[in-house]
């Protein structure tokens, strides 16, 4: 080999020279097999997903690829979510560092490798000249003329070593995490499957092996602060280059194993997440539980297990197996029995979705799964019609079913309407047609749509321009599915907030510490966090809950769950209450009749509704 290199040296005086004849060595075979397999697998998967999309969905997807706004968003999201992992950084910096070092570092290695090839041996970028593997094993194939190395060359040597060190620090953290996941702020992590283990251990091995391999050849192909000293030690320690080939073989084999195990492991998300981002930014939604867009989501799950700690069912380590990560694992394995069990059990509080670093909408997959079971049953709403159209007034109030069980909310709101001089009508004082969301959540979409149409018709005929709702469950579906023309849809927390901001009503302060419980459908579901808090600040001192806003714990009363037993619900309620009690409030206030009832039944302190506390403190004109 030495003879060979010296021959080349004599012929070519350039900085970088192909060291190996044909620029090929058998050790690349495992890698080539792996990368070919994964590219094929991914392509077939992509075709499958697109095949299962509805025609309109395909058109939207195609159109989105040419819209500059969406293109920019795609690039931004892919950079933030797939490489830097901004979401994880925000929650747990150490975990964020671990992810971005491996993902972004590896990405840099590949890109830098290709840049080096492009700069120094550009002919190898063509497929016939080994572009599949050459840039990956660049350091094996080239000889760098020490006398002709430019500053540019040194720069890349340094950069490659630096990036490798960056990745290795992440790998070290990952190994540490396996041992002590608590140190990184996770109570529970997922149990890895067999394929996960194969992929995991090969992933761990890839970067140390790369370091070893490149260190062995550093004297030939260049290196920097990491590889050169190691090269020096190896050569002095072993006395020759005997271990040269085996390490490159091992490195290539580990890459091959990793790619072969990838589709059956959690690491598939590395490749599918960018696809998911493109689909999602195009505006696609989950319609079927296993195919189409849902499949992209299922394969984008990184099994990180953040949803295990997030799930309110796990407050007392009770139902770990009902978390989204296991749900998705069962979906991948087509385990229908378990899929249904989890789909039906879930509260659909949306916390796993809100916290998911990949942004997988698993609540929607659950609803889609329920739809496959429950949409087909017969229904008959022929006689369900309001007996009269409400009298013409500007503001229409829809109390909804649950508010009928909490007369205090109805009464308080009526008082507020009167004090505000509102020209209002209650649509459903005596008879109420359900908003349709409970049916929707149960997977009975068709039936829900019929109710939506009935309500929509009468609301539009009433001639109102403002619709006020007291139940967040109603609010969410009115906002998302009703598409009411020229009618402003408001949750009463928004309405009261605007009354206070515009000085239409005034309230007196109470000497009380108040904690606010975010109802799932109002907070995470509709993004309304500030208005109720603003309202409460005008009444008393607002204290924080242990977990609040998007991290708030469901009260346990959610209509989302079909099968959760009362005693398990009670455990969740206790969890939510203990989070609310963190800063010793005098009163718990919420803005949902269902949360109100659920928390009130279990709370050690006063529970009030937002409307109740305002109505009580309103200064009468």
């Amino acid at each position: 080999m030495k003879i060979l290199t010296s021959n080349i040296l004599q012929i070519s005086p350039s900085e970088v020279i192909d060291r190996i004849p044909d620029s090929y060595n058998n050790f690349v075979i495992p890698f080539v097999i792996g990368i070919t397999f994964i590219i094929l697998y991914l392509s077939i998967g992509l075709i499958r997903i697109i095949y299962h999309l509805e025609k309109e969905e395909r058109i939207t997807l195609l159109k989105s690829l040419f819209k500059p706004k969406i293109i920019i968003k795609n690039i931004k999201d892919i950079f933030n979510d797939c490489l830097i992992h901004t979401k994880i950084w925000k929650r747990k910096p150490l975990l964020g560092y671990m992810h971005s070092s491996i993902a972004f570092g590896w990405f840099l290695l590949i890109v830098l490798g290709h840049i080096e090839v492009a700069l120094f041996v550009p002919k190898h970028l063509s497929i016939s000249e080994g572009s599949l593997f050459y840039p990956i094993f660049y350091r094996f194939f080239v000889w760098v003329n020490p006398e002709h190395v430019t500053l540019r060359g040194y720069f890349f040597f340094f950069l490659m070593d630096f990036v490798l060190l960056y990745i290795l620090s992440g790998v070290a953290l990952a190994m540490f995490k396996r041992v002590r996941s608590l140190a990184l702020g996770m109570r529970h992590t997922t149990k890895p499957s067999l394929a996960d283990r194969f992929a995991l251990y090969s992933l761990w091995a890839i970067f140390p092996l790369r370091l070893l391999a490149e260190s062995f050849t550093a004297d030939l192909s260049g290196g920097s602060f990491l590889t050169i000293p190691m090269n020096y030690i190896f050569h002095n320690f072993f006395g020759n280059s005997l271990n040269f080939m085996p390490t490159w073989w091992l490195y290539s084999t580990c890459l091959g194993i990793f790619f072969l195990a990838m589709p059956f492991s959690r690491y598939m998300h590395i490749l599918t997440e960018p696809l998911l981002i493109v689909f999602r930014n195009a505006g696609l939604k989950v319609t079927k539980p296993r195919v189409g867009f849902a499949e992209a989501e299922i394969y984008a799950c990184s099994s990180c297990g953040l949803c295990i700690d997030a799930c309110p069912m796990n407050v007392k380590k009770k139902n770990l197996k009902f978390s989204s990560v296991y749900f998705i694992r069962f979906l991948r394995r087509h385990n229908t029995k378990k899929i249904n069990a989890i789909a039906n059990k879930c509260l659909l509080c949306g916390k796993c979705f809100a916290l998911c670093p990949v942004g997988i909408d698993s609540p929607s997959i659950r609803v889609a799964q329920r739809k496959t079971n429950h949409n087909k049953y017969e229904y008959n709403y022929n006689q369900i019609n309001y007996s009269s159209i409400p009298k013409q007034s500007k503001t229409l109030y829809f109390a909804g079913c649950m508010t009928q069980l909490t007369p205090v909310i109805l009464n308080s709101l009526e008082n507020i309407f009167k004090q505000a001089g509102e020209d209002y009508t209650i649509l459903d004082k005596d008879e109420v047609i359900c908003c349709g969301r409970p049916l929707m959540l149960s997977g009975r979409e068709e039936a829900a749509k019929e109710l939506i149409n009935k309500n929509k018709k009468i609301i539009q005929e009433s001639g109102c321009n403002k619709l006020i709702l007291s139940c967040p469950i109603c609010y969410k579906i009115f906002k998302e599915e009703y598409h009411l023309k020229n009618i402003e849809v408001l949750h009463y927390s928004q309405y009261i907030n605007s009354l206070l901001e515009n000085n239409i009503i005034q309230v007196k302060k109470e000497d009380k510490k108040i904690v606010y419980h975010d109802p799932c459908d109002l907070g995470r579901g509709s993004g309304i966090y500030e208005e109720p808090r603003n309202v409460l600040k005008s009444i008393g001192e607002l204290v924080k809950a242990d977990k609040e806003r998007e991290e708030n714990i469901c009260c346990g009363g959610s209509l989302g769950s079909l099968t959760l037993e009362q005693k398990d619900r009670n455990i969740i309620t206790e969890g939510a209450i203990s989070s609310l009690m963190a800063n010793h409030p005098d009163t718990i206030v919420t803005a949902c009749p269902l949360c109100y009832k659920t928390i009130r039944n279990n709370s050690p302190i006063d529970v009030e509704d937002l409307s109740e506390i305002i109505s009580r403190n309103i200064i009468k004109k």
Partner: protein
Amino acid sequence: MKKNVLIIGGGPSGLEAATILKKFNYNVILVERSSILGGHLAKWDRLFPYMEPAKETLDVLLSNIDGITIFKDTEVNSINLLDKSYNVILSNGITILADALLITTGFDLFQAEKKEEYGYGIYEKVITSAELEEYFKTLNNNKIDNPKKIGFVHCVGSRDEKAANRACSKVCCATAVKQACEIKEKYPDADVYCFYMDLRMFGRGYEDLYLKAQKDYAIRFIRGRVSEVSEDINKSLVIKAEDTLSSKPIRVTLDLLVLMSGMRPSSGGEKIKKMLNLMTEDDGFFSTKDSIYSLQHSKLAGLFYAGAATGPKTLPDSLHEARSAAIQIHNYLNN
């Protein structure tokens, strides 16, 4: 030297047991946290099933209390179990070394505002059975203003998992029928409805009371549990229930709604429970040593129960238990 027996709770059971234990020549100390003796009986007007004035029974109970040390407005601050006695410190600073303890802490009425769908505390014309009883005594309640239509809701906070009480409170059915008759006596023109799930008229004379309510007072009994109460524009109450016997939802407008609050373990009893780590059943009432033979015994030697501290009971039941407990305590102190 006379042995000390401490009775916690000055209701009918406590008073009756105290009287008998005094006759057995013990030094009896009775602690009552309120300022009135007689417990719930003192607030009642007439008793089912024969409409005897509650005051007569109360007077009998109070006529024999001479020689009993009674601390009113006093609570138990701590209890320590010593070798064969209990060291009890009271809120008035007095310490008692009791050779036997009798717990007659009775019950509290279920807080009707917890069933918010019934609108107690929200609607003016919704009252509890206790308020109605007080009205019969004093004839003074501005919520009761010549009502034309009156409803009684049975099982408020009883037989209701949502109110965390699966058990029957035993006395509310008979009380409701009694009060229905009484209000009809006051307002003969009124229509009176009783909404019930099951009518549990188990005692002697109860069925006669029921018959009288049907025959003499024309009370309308509707088998269905009220689920919601709302108010119409005229501030009348609108009641929603189902007439399960005709399988139709029912809606009726009322001027007065009476909620038959059930029995919950008393808050005083809960305090004692914590002091001695006493056992309670799922329903929250104290566990007795067994469920048939030793109803007055606890698992602790020298600690006894009587009355509604161990679950809902009628007044005669409680008095029986008080007498039984007195005898058991006597046996215990002489062995």
